[in-house]
Amino acid sequence: MYENFDVTLIEKEPDVGWGVSKANTAIIHPGHEEDPKTHSLRAKLCKEGNELWREWARELDIPVKWPGELMVFTSDEEEKEARKYIDLAKANNIPGVKIVYKEELRALEPNINPDALGAVYAPTAGTISPMEAVIAVVENAVENGVKLLTETEVTNIKVSGNRVIGIETNRGFIEADIIINAAGLHADKISHMAGVEPKFFIRPRRGQYLLFDEDVSVKPVRILHTTPTPITKGVYAITTVHGNLMIGPTAEDLPVEAREETGTTFEGLEHVWKEASKILKALPPRSKVIKTFAGLRPEPPGGHWLIKAYEDPWGFVNVAGIRSPGLTSAPAIAHYVLEQIGKVYGIKLIKKEKWNPFRKDIMRLKGKSLEEIDSLIKMNPDYGEILCYCKTVSKAEIIEAINRMRAIGIKTITFDGIKFRTYVGMGMCQGSFCRWRIALLVSKYTGAPLENVVIKKSGYGIGEVKMLLKEKVSVKTGVSLK
């Protein structure tokens, strides 16, 4: 966005957004849950982020809804807890927050549990598709000159004479004057590589979720959540921007080293089920759950975000420990980081004249009228070939996703990458009908044999069907057939 920056974005995964951004509650928080006395930066940037996302979602064509949220209370004690958020809303200058009781509550949310006494209503809350938000931002960044390097893992940070000079990666050395550490769950390690904040450690906090099919009858109009108490944190029930009921998360503090523990547990899913049933009038049958998953949030000591531009080494910037409301605040954090860089390093930020703030989403059939679909097919017959039946995704959309992945510099076209861009495999069948069809298309487009097409992180198969028999024959006879 500013002149004279040559920006490279480094990502260890094959695609963007596969860390903390992939699995969270997908909420743009209003900012009435942040205590400005203890976490002033979080409180400030949350409110700003909430406002900025409205602009960003419009400019970048990101799926977002603004239904507002209800923090539901079911007892006098909970009401007392909930009332505290009115004070916080006042302190943070969050508009429209109020307590609503029975009639008003039912009018706002027909799916509310009849036992609910009332709720704190915050009208500025929204839901977003976090993965698509990350993808949209990166597409726009690349369009404006940022270079993306995927499958590139930082192994060390080079400092010379109290200045950073670059990073060492599995793909070689990359020179840099300024290094911004936004490595999510691994940001502490990166910080330590720069010799900064040796006592700063991130603890993974796991959140488990259940996602239901689109066609369930109970779909909350608002974002609902239980009142957090000293014992339990809030559990949400939302209708995602794609129309699925989602409930969760748990909040399980894991050991520092458990940075890949994204597995679900019986206990965790049971807890979510129990808590969610307190706020909804009824949960759909368990058979309507199409997916369960877990994500990790990076919890910093004391819950304090570590956003700082260092003078020693000059050029190293931490944006670390970005726990909730990180997604909400992200656009505001970006501005804040730039401000810090400008201030600490004495860099004058000059806005680019040639700057394209816009990005268009993939053209999709879903939600279009028959006439619109018909004219799209006339334009490009690939819109008339449906490859994902559950979500009605056409071949044209998948090809567009592949082309967009290539355009931002992604080296490995994965099924998951296509999934997050087009929603294939996100329906009831969870890909059992379409995965091979998509993999075939990727195989055709990339020249990779079908078995080598990467699904998430490894190949679709292990080889051609006769490979094990050939191996056996060669062992027996001592003759290699290869």
Partner: protein, 420 residues
């Protein structure tokens, strides 16, 4: 948009749909068969194993051979069909007028039809539906997906395999993996008896020394990039895992064969009533659903044991469509409900008139030996050496027998010696 008029639109080009389209065309109905894949044939195309056609053709055929017999018939009769045709929605205008909106590479087709025969088949239950927790690495496939990969596209999914569920597809895939030199470490079944046909247990597992773990549950998947192992435990009689019985099986691939569910998406949107026991629509003896002129057959109606039965249902639905069109609706009857008595979990069709011969297919809830299958209202009684949930009970009932029923007919299973 292209608009066309039909007597019958058949949705789904597997064995049920093909049989329905052939029969409907033979009966003189202007018929079109729609298939969303780029080839007709459905699942039998990828079934390289035998066991097809024993009932219908009195021959033992592979799935591929079986379905090709129908392709030949289609050609002879000249059945109209469209492949790569995705049914986007169905509009119910009136009992004699339904619009099927179809997305094709040529544009959106609006097919106006008097009847619809719904034969889209089934969907496999996923790992999430059966409640397995843990990691979600690569290397987890449904049995059908693994079969497509191997027997259509020649790709081997993995080499150390654990199969969850002992339904027929799982058993057949266990043998396919074994034949390819892969190691099938175990087939895990939560129930105390296998989920598939006994012939498949013998021919696919016992013949290949593949362990079948009955009364076991897969609890948790472990693996970062690719599946590394699965944690398994024994279950008690309530199917709850018994603490302390957990053990691990190392594997690189998990195949889910935990049963099929009728794929009833479009029927649900039409407002068709469903039977929770079958997961499919409630139908009368002509296989007409609760929406007039909308018929269902094959695995979209009820999960069948044999493709042969599926074909019969397709033909039956076509006959129903013919009767519907000739009479401008199915003539009003006093439909008698088919009731589920002792040890009957499901039965199809749900209503009979007593004026036609009807084949009733039923499944028991639990296995039993030396029993009578009885229809007390009509005095029908047949001895069975054994009944098992995996094997459908087939009752070919003449109208003479069925006409004796006054209000309903009940199917029940009675052990020998127990009085009615």
């Amino acid at each position: 948009m292209i608009e066309e008029k039909y007597d019958a639109v058949v949705i789904g080009g597997g064995p049920a749909g093909i049989a329905a389209a052939i029969k409907a065309t033979e009966l003189g109905l202007k018929t079109v068969l729609l298939e969303n894949r780029d080839i007709l044939g459905g699942i039998p195309l990828q079934c390289v194993h035998p066991g097809f056609g024993l009932h219908y053709f009195k021959e033992d055929l592979t799935g591929t051979q079986f379905i090709h017999r129908f392709f030949d018939r289609m050609e002879k009769i000249g059945v109209e069909y469209i492949t790569s045709a995705h049914v986007y929605s169905i509009e119910y205008r009136d009992y004699m007028e339904k619009i099927v909106n179809v997305i094709t590479r040529k544009g959106v087709l609006r097919l106006c039809s008097k009847t619809i025969i719904y034969t889209v088949g089934a969907r496999e239950r996923t790992i999430f539906e059966i409640g397995v927790v843990g990691d979600r690495p690569d290397g987890i496939y449904t049995a059908g997906e693994a079969q497509t990969m191997m027997d259509i596209y020649g790709v081997l999914p993995g080499k150390d395999i654990v199969i969850i569920g002992s339904g027929d597809v799982g058993l057949i895939m266990a043998r396919r993996f074994a034949l390819e030199g892969a190691r099938v470490k175990a087939v895990i079944e939560i129930m105390p008896y296998p989920g598939g046909l006994m012939r498949n247990v013998v021919q696919c597992l016992i013949d290949y020394n593949i362990p079948l773990l009955l009364s076991h549950i897969a609890l948790r998947v472990v693996g970062k990039k690719r599946v590394e192992k699965v944690v398994v435990a024994r279950v008690d009689e309530n199917l709850r895992p018994i603490p302390g019985t957990e053990f691990e099986i190392e594997c690189d691939t998990i195949v889910i064969a935990a049963g099929l569910r009728p794929y009833v998406d479009l029927l649900e949107k039409l407002g068709v009533a469903m039977d929770p026991a079958t997961g499919g629509p409630i139908v009368n003896e002509l296989l007409e659903t609760s929406m007039p002129g909308v018929f269902a057959a094959g695995n979209a109606l009820v999960i069948n044991d044999l493709a042969d039965y599926v074909v019969e249902q397709g033909e039956k639905a076509a006959e129903g469509a013919k009767i519907f069109i000739e009479n401008r609706g199915i003539p009003t009857e006093e439909w008698k409900p088919v009731k589920k008595g002792r040890n009957i979990r499901l039965a199809v069709p749900h209503y009979v008139s007593g004026k036609r011969d009807v084949t009733i297919l039923a499944r028991v809830a639990k296995p039993e030996q030396r029993v009578f299958v009885e229809l007390p209202e009509v005095g029908y009684k047949v001895f069975h050496m054994a009944v098992r949930p995996a094997e459908m009970i087939r009752l070919d009932l003449s109208k003479d027998i069925l006409s004796k029923a006054e209000k309903s007919i009940t199917i029940e299973v009675k052990p020998i010696g127990q009085r009615t």
